[in-house]
């Protein structure tokens, strides 16, 4: 008889324990939710290609007064900024002054225009300035996909051997300029 009472006691004990499980699960959820509410919403998809080399590519010129872009341009030993942009992208207008500032500070900026017509590119550059030494036309987002960029504008720091060292998502604000210059220095 004692064996039966032992098992029924054990069963009673287990019974008592499991009633707390739903509450514990809820507390776990509430903690997670509370934490997430304090975090800013992260909508960006970061590239996993940081630290990896640029792919082999060769893009035709997007503007009449600048040459096209190919992988060879990134292998000359000098770190550069790769700016992924488009004329139909509104934040790109906002970052135009910062790009000028970067160019004036000695950074070389190569641009890749995503899904853009030459006329629109020319119009944008006429209105907002042209900080680029070269501009490539990526009509099918091929290079954009290859480097893990998911939108415009994005700026990449490429070192002298064509390896991606840093990704900046979104438009470049005034406070980002020193940071990017520093990254360029580090990439030497």
């Amino acid at each position: 008889m004692s064996a039966a009472t032992d098992t029924s006691e054990a069963k009673a004990g287990l019974n008592k324990a499991w009633v707390w499980i739903p509450l514990l699960l809820f507390i776990g959820f509430a903690t997670l939710a509370a934490f997430m509410l304090t975090q800013p919403k992260n909508e960006f998809v970061t590239s996993k290609m940081v630290g990896k080399p640029l792919p082999e590519f060769d893009l035709r010129p997007a503007a009449q007064d600048r040459p096209g872009v190919s992988i060879a341009n990134f292998r000359d030993g000098k770190p550069k900024l790769l700016n992924v942009w488009a004329s139909w992208c509104l934040p790109c207008i906002a970052e135009a002054p910062q790009l000028e500032e970067l160019r004036d500070s000695g950074a070389e900026i190569i641009g890749i225009a995503i899904r853009d017509r030459p006329a629109d590119v020319a119009g944008f550059l006429a209105r907002h300035g042209n900080p680029y030494t070269r501009i490539g036309a990526d009509d099918l987002s091929e290079v954009q996909l290859e480097i893990g960029s998911s939108g415009v504008p994005e700026t990449f720091v490429i070192d002298g051997q064509g390896v991606i060292r840093h990704q900046h998502i979104g438009d470049i604000r005034a406070e980002h300029v020193p940071m990017l210059l520093e990254k360029l220095q580090e990439a030497k």
Binding site: W88, D139, S150, G151, P153
Partner: protein, 144 residues
């Protein structure tokens, strides 16, 4: 149609893209492959790849231009003879697990598989205890 969603959601996204490009869609964004078997393979793959500019859609269900470009890549590569898994790996190498809906066991996703197994074990346990025990008790019990 997804233009709408892409637009609405794009306005919620802090950074990029607030309007649409004027360049026409990629050749294979809205055209099926000639070989039905290859097209079926491509379609199956596209349903499991995530549109990066949308809130919660596969590239098969989105009209965003970038989704179209991704569909173009998928179809071109399938036509070239690449396997769907190779294409998926190519995208995951660039965007991480976020771009793929296909559940893969990895350091970041193992709970998704462990927990259903755990649930299965718990369910079996609950059922055995509740139903198995009763068979022997029901004779002894007079009902309470």
């Amino acid at each position: 149609m997804k233009r709408l969603i892409a637009l609405v959601l794009a306005t919620l996204l802090a950074g990029p893209v607030l309007s649409q490009s004027a360049v026409p869609p990629a050749p294979y964004a809205y055209t099926q492959l000639a070989d039905p078997a290859q097209e079926a393979e491509a379609a199956a793959l596209m349903l499991t790849l995530r549109c990066l500019k949308c809130q919660s859609q596969s590239i098969a269900d989105s009209d965003a231009p970038m989704a179209g470009d991704m569909r173009h890549q998928v179809r071109v590569r399938i036509e070239r003879g690449e396997s769907p898994e190779a294409i998926r790996t190519w995208l995951v190498e660039r965007y991480g697990d976020y771009v793929s809906y296909e559940p893969k066991v990895s350091a970041t996703t193992w709970p998704l598989f462990a927990i259903p197994l755990l649930l299965f074990a718990v369910a079996a346990l609950v059922l055995l205890r509740r139903l198995g025990a009763n068979r022997s008790d029901s004779e002894a019990e007079t009902g309470s």
